[in-house]
Symmetry: C2
Subunit: 260 residues, 2 copies
């Protein structure tokens, strides 16, 4: 029996593969996570799946593969998660906070041990995660690869991260950078509940004419990032939505007066 | 440019693959080590090599593959090494000291930084390293896998160890268990020079009739392990061989008297 119990914190950790191109990599990833005592695999719109190459590469981890959940979007895959970490080659496009694998694993452990659902997200073989997908992540994880040749195979990246998560679950993670770990809000609402808030926030920006002709996407992207990272709880969401409602009310009055 | 300089300690670290069965794994291993800033690959009697599957899986690490050295035995592969670590699934057959990957990486770094040649050795996909091969190793490295399913893919194991070596070279290895690191004898003789000593030791045991009818292999295995682990320097080898010579001389005199 593995001393990392399958029904302990490990049961709240899912490995999410987004848009995987080669089915063999899905099988190899299943094998990689099982060797490290993890077992939950979520596939977001895999390009070819099911596929015999996936079965072949799983080599004894068919149980992980057979239990894998398939969904259409990353938002669905992480809807109930309180911590979502995206594995990236260093990205200059999105200003996400970047964690070392070891610090990321410590965060994963802390959140899962506190009862939260956690996702470790891996993008497409060639192109990684899209900006929109990274916006669903609380932080990015970067494996400190050789910058002249940083293209880890997908399953190799899954292996390294799963290895660090296992060390953390075994209590052998070691020298974690305390400042690098996300402050965990044990009462943070799951992702899906933020969407209503973001919808209202977007409406409010329109109502108060914040954009003034500029495209609204850039501001919303920054705001999403900010609030996703923060880990809002129910009361905070209610508070903020109350503020938005008042701002919207004022804007309506102002517009009515302007019209009048 | 990678901040782990290719001509620094990394240049003294070789990854040795013994008896690899699937050529694709050789290519994947080349890719894995290159992503971690290493570049020296030694192939001991690969079953199918060169092979187009190796080239395919190398995917941009062809330079590592093309520079790979092919030899017939592990003894040749590590003849000039001062530190040889064998990656194993936990083995009960051979009583080698066992290091965690992180501690192993710290040893590798310390030895390579002190100017020594270092080898990280990986066995066959199914059967690992043979006992005779493990006897050439100063210590074993064990990736703490799920005991119910510990079969890491060969390239995945190479990736995890290379990752830890990279962290050590970057100075980010962290919490090393000091007692676990091999005491490095900066003047230890390379492996090949021990063979003359072992030869004389074997002769001496015969001469003094140590075995008394038992098979000599078991005692020699234990003695090899002991002296390989110790890291003997030139003076110590000379001292020990002097002792052996005297023991042999006495045995000869005793035999002559018995004959007389």
């Amino acid at each position: 029996m593995d001393i990392v119990a399958a029904d302990g914190p490990a049961a709240r950790i899912r490995i999410v593969l987004v848009g995987t191109q080669h089915p063999g990599n899905i099988g190899s990833a299943a094998r990689a996570i099982k060797t490290m005592g993890l077992h939950r695999l979520v596939l977001v719109a895999p390009q070819k799946y099911p596929h015999n190459e996936a079965d072949m590469m799983a080599a004894g981890a068919e149980d992980v593969l057979n239990a894998a959940v398939e969904v259409a979007t990353l938002a669905e895959a992480v809807a109930d998660c309180r911590l979502v970490l995206g594995c990236t080659a260093r990205s200059r496009r999105v200003q996400l906070r970047e964690l070392r694998p070891r610090d990321a694993a410590a965060s994963v452990h802390a959140e899962a041990a506190a009862g939260g659902e956690v996702a470790l997200v891996f993008g497409r073989e060639r192109t990684g995660l899209e900006n929109e997908e990274l916006q669903l992540c609380h932080a990015a994880v970067h494996i400190p690869a050789n910058p002249d040749y940083s293209s880890l195979n997908l399953a190799a990246a899954v292996q390294v991260l799963s290895y660090e998560v296992r060390l953390a679950l075994l209590g052998e993670g070691g020298d974690v950078t305390p400042a690098a770990i996300a402050p965990v809000n044990p009462d943070a609402v799951p992702h899906a509940e933020l969407e209503g808030f973001f919808g209202q926030l977007g409406d409010t920006l329109e109502d108060i004419d914040f954009h003034k002709g500029r495209a609204p996407e850039s501001a919303m992207r920054k705001l999403r990032r900010l609030f996703v990272r923060t880990g809002l709880d129910q009361k905070e969401v209610r508070l903020l939505r109350g503020i938005l409602a008042d701002a919207q009310r004022m804007a309506r009055i102002a517009r009515d007066r302007g019209d009048g």
